[in-house]
Symmetry: C2
Subunit: 271 residues, 2 copies
Amino acid sequence: MHSWVDGQEASALNLQNRGLAYGDGVFETIAVRDGRPSLLSLHLDRLALGCQRLAIDADQALIHDELLRYAARLRDGVAKLIVTRGDSQRGYAPASGAPARRILQGSPLPAYPQANATDGVRLFPCQTRLAQQPLLAGLKHLNRLEQVLARAEWQDSSYAEGLMRDTDGRVIEGVYSNLFLLKGGTLLTADLSRCGVAGVMRDALLAQAPALGLDAQVRDLGLDDVQQADEVFVCNSVYGVWPVREFAASNWPAGPVTRKLQAVARTLLDT
Amino acid sequence: MHSWVDGQEASALNLQNRGLAYGDGVFETIAVRDGRPSLLSLHLDRLALGCQRLAIDADQALIHDELLRYAARLRDGVAKLIVTRGDSQRGYAPASGAPARRILQGSPLPAYPQANATDGVRLFPCQTRLAQQPLLAGLKHLNRLEQVLARAEWQDSSYAEGLMRDTDGRVIEGVYSNLFLLKGGTLLTADLSRCGVAGVMRDALLAQAPALGLDAQVRDLGLDDVQQADEVFVCNSVYGVWPVREFAASNWPAGPVTRKLQAVARTLLDT
């Protein structure tokens, strides 16, 4: 489907855009089914939070409206929504009063192997570490060179994801996803106050945990936590939940809690 | 002057460009005088190094040729050269075989107050810290949200620059420049192996130091090094050298070594 810039069909962006110059913006990758964006309010909330933390003055109601109209035309696929600080002349200082730019791009739903969801995936051990920048941690901003470098580490398609650690060795997330562990009946996921992207599916699953009788903890995780986990899975807002069946020397079956949360994710994405 | 994309006049860039999506590219900001790019080989070397470290397969000879042609038409001003990994569909994995994109943008030489060079500048103490990412340190890549956040910290135009430290408190650089100290007759500038941009003027001045009888050291610097310095200056490849006359509670006269290096920088920019 044709892309939109500021609500109009467009295939190109002004060269002065600060998204290109500095990665000065945020984005969301949103599954669209039957013309409706999945996890809509979580995506919009995170986008608004990102704009607020970066002081990008974007019209959130207009973004909401445009996303709904774009999704209605896309029908089924993935909508990528980018909001940049707009255009400016050379220099890091934001131009006062320049309007934020809204970009919508559509693509088909990715054709992932069915086995990723049924049998689980292998995680590649990425050497690229995540730098620790609390001012940007959690945000899905446009400065993504670390993910580009990490993804370029493997070509073997038997790895569906890579595991990323921070510069102090803490286990943080996948290149495209968040990571959860089940250990002694407790659901664990990494604290993202220093680095990482706080995925909306991660938030949604954390919110559902109590209703499923699961104790959930957000805390620092090490490789030993992964190795000692009873179940491991990755999640994002496009595919939902994939069990992790292998990382380094460790193997796991797709366990019952993973299956339960996989079903929850599927429901969240379909409604 | 009109911008170029891949050697052709253009005002817009394909929305699929990875520069926009991920900040997946590098750039140079090059002073142009009388139709010639200043510090040409240093700029091209750094650009090539950046492409190499990010594994961006760009035609460096073609970039050189286009820059010369662009500068000849720009005559006097600043040429910004951006090289991105090119276009790709959604996903961090680089598309194999997609050509890197070359973007050239021209602007007038900035009208800095003459007093910046003669009397020196005040440095704003930025709270935004630089994250430590050795894989990207030194490169002038397109992931520049930290500089955007730092520059947004002050509106008072009596500050011409801001001083940035890393997340461990080491003094690294200015938002737009590198920082030098003179202490006990030794020229000091920060080690940029963890973060920071290795400016071409910094490299040029370090290379000139021995011929000027100056001992130069690249090492970790703290705020105490700044406070105890006999002279302080900032430099970049557009304005050359500006003495720093004030930072926090410290004041400095524009000292003799600063004046000497200012003259060197002027010569480097003019030839």
